[in-house]
């Protein structure tokens, strides 16, 4: 593990460690820095984490079967994503990276729509306005500025600080630990700070940016960066769904009230390789992964739910059924994703296709049409 501060030791937390309510052993306890969220549907949280994990596993399987070109696995980060997503109000806007399948799920996206990008049948896959969940952004850091601009729009729309929970709106921007090194991310922090914007930056510090451990990006914890720009940074145990939810909820409330931005560092771990195309054994010891497996975000909530008697066997059986349904849905959905139309790039480059592009499309169509014959002779 590359960082001292990231260490979530078994048992008691050091006062300056990440905020934690739920220990890896499933013991629920207070943290002096944040209130334990009340009226939380813990069984629902666990169910969503489980389903999201299954979504991820199925996508990996689809990649192995050649149905997807690539898949960036979220495994290990279910608590961070589901916890953050549960804190969102419907009107809030989300700017994800390319790994927030769990947030997409909680936002109510059909998970099949997440596959098109990695299948190569689309560059997008869903309408970002419908569920207020922006398209995935692959260029590291770029989405942080889009979130900032959107938040500038919220200020101008006067939908912050009214006290009306169904009206006041915030932006939740996701980023990885690697994104902290891009200039654009730092510009986003600065703009958010200076304008006191209603934006929450949620950094999943999964300890790795492909093969680069966090120590390549920084010598101090993520949360400290925010202070340098003049807004709060909050480290939370990213494998504790309650800590993630509580911290994000507080930060979003702060943002909606007009009190400005927050940077949350969810200390977590990328259990799988960077993507299915990556080979993590080249750069990190399996012992490290094992260590983090022991802090599994699902397991600790399962232990807690079981011990507290809140759920019964039927609850787990129901989850298993839903997982099966999800798997079937994903497999069928993936294979029946529509092939992209050859005309679509031409049609979607501009609002109205310029004459030259029309000419090129016609040429392209003619070429494709003649392809059958030509293919035969040549």
């Amino acid at each position: 593990m590359p960082r001292k501060q990231a260490k979530t030791t078994e048992g008691a937390q050091p006062a300056d460690g990440p905020i934690q309510f739920l220990s890896p052993e499933g013991v629920l306890g207070p943290d002096s820095r944040l209130e334990l969220p009340s009226a939380i549907d813990l069984p629902a949280l666990y169910r969503d984490m489980a389903l999201v994990r299954r979504l991820d596993s199925e996508a990996i399987a689809l990649q192995r079967q050649g149905e997807l070109g690539l898949w960036p696995s979220l495994r290990g980060q279910e608590a961070a994503q589901v916890g953050a997503a549960y804190a969102l109000a419907e009107q809030d806007m989300v700017f994800p990276t390319y790994r927030e399948h769990g947030v997409a799920w909680c936002r109510g996206l059909d998970p099949v729509s997440l596959l098109g990008l990695f299948r190569g049948s689309t560059l997008g896959g869903w309408n970002p306005y419908e569920r207020r969940f922006n398209l995935y952004t692959l260029v590291i850091g770029a989405q942080t500025l889009h979130g900032v601009g959107y938040a500038m729009g919220l200020v101008r729309d006067d939908v912050i600080g009214s006290g009306d929970d169904t009206r006041d709106t915030a932006v939740l921007v996701f980023l990885g630990d690697g994104a902290l090194s891009e200039g654009e991310t730092n510009e986003a922090f600065l703009w958010a700070a200076v304008q006191n914007l209603p934006v929450v930056f949620f950094c999943q510090n999964n300890q790795w940016a492909i093969s680069a451990p966090y120590s390549v990006q920084s010598r101090v914890p993520v949360a400290q960066r925010a202070a340098g720009f003049g807004f709060p940074g909050v480290p939370v145990d990213g494998n504790d769904v309650l800590a993630c939810l509580a911290a994000t909820r507080a930060a979003l409330a702060r943002a909606r009230s007009g009190s400005g931005p927050t940077l949350i560092e969810a200390v977590t771990y990328r259990i799988n390789a960077h993507t299915t195309a990556d080979d993590a054994t080249r750069y990190r010891p399996s012992a490290e992964t094992d260590e983090w497996m022991a802090k599994d975000p699902l397991e600790r909530l399962r232990l807690h739910l079981t011990a507290s008697g809140e759920v019964d066997e039927e609850y787990f059986a129901d989850i298993e059924r839903r997982e099966q349904e999800l798997a079937v849905h994903l497999r069928a959905g993936c294979r029946s994703l529509p092939a992209p139309d050859n005309a679509s790039p031409f049609e979607n480059t501009y609002t109205d296709m310029p004459a030259e592009l029309r000419r090129q499309l016609a040429e392209h169509a003619e070429f494709l049409a003649s392809g059958q014959e030509i293919g035969a002779t040549r």
Binding site: T122, L123, T137, V148, Y150, M152, G153, R156, W191
Partner: protein, 322 residues
Amino acid sequence: MSISMVKALNNGLRKALADDPKVLLMGEDIGRLGGVFRVTDGLQKEFGSLRVIDTPLGEAGIVGSAIGLALRGYRPVCEIQFDGFVYPAVNQIISQLAKLRHRSGGVITLPVVIRIPFGGGIGSIEHHSESPEAYFAHTPGLKVVTCSNPQDAYDMIRQAVDDDDPVIFLEPKRHYWTKGEVTDGTPAPFARACVLRSGTDATLIAYGPMVPAALEAADAAAEEGRSVEVIDLRSLSPLDLDTVRESVHRTGRALVTHEASLSHGFGAELAARIQQEEFHFLEAPVLRITGYDTPYPPSRLEADWLPGVDRILDALDLSMSY
């Protein structure tokens, strides 16, 4: 009313701000100061600092947050202070602004305008005289336009704001203070080139900074009995090839002039198109009169380095000699 291009742009932006509450201006020093060229003079006072925004000193931030504002339904008009300072924003422009419509299958429209004072000839220091138009014209998803006179400036800036696609709006800074009549009539179509002077012997194609020199060259040529047609392209992307072809088809000779370096400059595409489309009608190769393949020189050299009337006329001689 005869006003400068700066004033025409200022009027155009004022009208855009007044017509649509979603229009915002943003950039470095555009508020209190009114921009280093005063294009936004008085607009912050009139429309408030929420609509005319003095931004931090970060071009990526300007364009990146403009994208976010557009996603929220706004129509931001960004000012990049000088041509040479657009490069920190290029990642947001090329990978995000130009591509989001395509990426989203047409769901997202980004009506963002990026205003850039461009070109040389004003005795300025390094990075203040660049001609980056070819970079943007080579980027699908962007529209790239420029104006050469106050009337076009006034009309085109409003058309750019109204356009639902991202527009790189290049302002030829050396003509900022040139005056001309500006009226409120029906503007020429946004993406249409304009034949500024008709002629029969050769077609001289220019845009933005080089248009006055092109007209001057045509005048000089006329004195020597040569009839030169002058086209002001106005829209660099999309390119109004019809107007160009129609002219060259008649004249059989084409010359292109721009300040940017020769190699891979805007003229290359024009030459490539014309030689292909009008192959049988060309009496001479398409000739280019441009800046050289060096970085922009110190300003004491710029008068010689930049293409001008004499070089255009030499090229015309060469063209006619075929």
